[in-house]
Symmetry: C2
């Protein structure tokens, strides 16, 4: 921690040339006499010289860094997205600058200015409907968008002003409902997220559409508005079940995400229900732990990591995509939490 990093001038002086020549050698410019090149290169190697990113950024007016804005790395879903984004960016010589949204309180405008004043190459926002509708977040993105391109993985909204990537949950949700129906389920509930509200959008719509198509009962209590954490799932499952008489209760639940499913499964277990015999559960996101729950959790795969990589590519592509949205399909990954091995259930 004592050494001072050699500057281009140190190298130039020691090699007996000008700074410009050092730059030429560094960049492999052809206009350098071989002898000179070798001489300079030797000094460069000797010092392990590397040009200052900071000075370069100041001159060039842009840093090869992408700002990444997300709710929290504590949610393994976002952590995996960031990881994939970092891989993709790194591969192209870019790196990531992190910003987690404050859980409570408003976004610090100083942070926004800081982010902008870093001359980032772009910003990548990811969040759920809960985040994308925060006024302070919208303002932040709107301000940032004036200075750099933005891409986002979030629920689609009008007038977002940047490219927004999301999944076509419609087909996956309907597929999930059909899956449950085929296994003999009649009373199917949705748990967590904003359910009926416009906010959670497609999920609720597709869910209800499919219920109607299959002529399955629509019970108000089957659509719980709730948060997206495991604790929320645990709590909301409890509320839904205790609010209904035994014969009114669902035999299957479609959860807002895998965390909610985790919580719901715990609750059902505590209530003495057998999984999947007494209650089928479907999650969403297909997170790593779906393979390890008991029983393994059937989940909707959103191809999240591919999404993230694609977002980085989009951000770095010169041809800025002006389309407001990019949609990816999602698929149902069937495991055992709905009882496929049990076959048809008794109706």
């Amino acid at each position: 921690m004592e050494e001072r990093k050699a500057t281009i001038y140190d190298i130039a002086r020691e090699a007996g040339v000008s700074a410009a020549t050092v730059t030429r050698v560094m960049n492999g410019s052809p206009n350098v006499r071989p002898a000179t090149r070798e001489k300079v290169q030797r000094v460069i190697d000797a010092h392990g010289y590397a040009p200052s990113t900071v000075a370069r950024d100041l001159g060039s007016g842009s840093s090869k860094t992408i700002g990444i804005i997300l709710p929290s790395l504590r949610n393994p879903y976002y952590a995996a997205l960031v990881s994939a984004a970092d891989d993709e960016a790194r591969q192209r010589g870019y790196s990531l600058w992190l910003y987690q949204l404050p859980r409570e309180g408003e976004i610090d405008s100083a942070v926004v200015e800081n982010l902008i004043s870093r001359r980032l190459s772009g910003a990548f926002f990811m969040g759920g409907f809960y985040d994308v509708d925060r006024p302070d977040l919208r303002e932040m993105l709107s301000r940032i968008g004036k200075y750099m391109p933005i891409v986002a993985i979030c629920p689609p909204r009008e007038n977002l002003g940047f490219v927004c990537m999301f999944n076509d949950l419609n087909s996956a949700i309907r597929q999930a409902v059909r899956h449950l129906h085929l296994l003999g389920h009649q009373r199917i509930a949705m748990l967590g997220g904003a359910a009926r509200l416009l906010d959670s959008g497609q999920r609720a719509v597709a869910f209800v559409d499919e219920l109607r198509y299959l002529r399955l009962p629509e019970v108000p209590e089957f659509e719980r508005v709730g948060g997206g954490s495991a604790a929320d799932g645990e709590q909301d499952a409890y509320r839904m079940m205790t609010q209904l008489r035994p014969e009114e209760r669902p035999t299957a639940v479609l959860c807002y995400n895998d965390l909610v499913a985790l919580g719901a499964m715990k609750q059902f277990r505590q209530m003495g229900l057998r999984l999947p015999e007494d209650m089928a559960v479907i999650g969403c996101d297909n997170q790593f732990f779906c393979d390890y729950t008991a029983p393994p959790l059937t989940s909707i795969d959103m191809q999240a990591e591919e999404h993230a990589r694609s977002a980085i590519r989009e951000l770095l592509s010169t041809t800025v995509n002006h389309s407001a949205a990019i949609v990816r399909s999602s698929t149902l990954v069937v495991r055992e939490s709905c009882g496929v091995k049990l076959g048809w259930r008794k109706l």
Copy 2:
């Protein structure tokens, strides 16, 4: 994405003062006439002016950014650490620059130079014994250490050259073994990590020590060398069990971490074992999902996030701590994966 950020000169010109005065106003220097201050402030507000972080960094020779080096954000354990570190750093006006170690292949030396040339305030490394013993990683840290302070959360090693924080697993491991013993377990195994090898250090030593103290059998097959992922846990559990005759098998396993425990539990379940009646399991790290496994997983809490916050504070403290190591205690969080509710098992 069209606007150009106003510079200090834009502000100065418009306010009819010099750049120096703008700086004074920004920094709240007392040596400014109130009238001037107000005039300048008005222009600053009108433009939403904020000084360029890049230019400031170049001048000051240091950016308020901390480089964070970790195996992968896909491991929720590290993700949680990074999240906590970010919270702590952000609170002090610092931000995080991310670097995930390549899973395969060597560390790109260009990345190291890049990291150094960013004039970071410090570097924060976190990793397991598998990482800390990589030659390329050691070289990287050694090089980085010449230019900035480093703190690490990793297994202790000789001559690391920087502050290394880790947990005193000794007491926790022994406590875990005693916990199992009190519940009537005689045949206790360790699963994953480097077990007997010096590398995994304290865990294995403490484990064996306690076995001897309690006069419990030491079976070679009870100490599986293995990886740290859920898939590793699944595989290693299988190998250990099939390698032994039924009466030789353990009735309890102490896992390298919670992911390994997750995999092992799945394997045991597939083998038809009941948890915890036929097999007790203990994990390590006390991750968020421990509450949601079936049964909830008893785990050793390393206070990982507090560790991370403390690491950031250490890094930012002026008084560089020259001690080679900082040890924290760890505690056993008892849930139900060892059958506390069952009481004593039949011997």
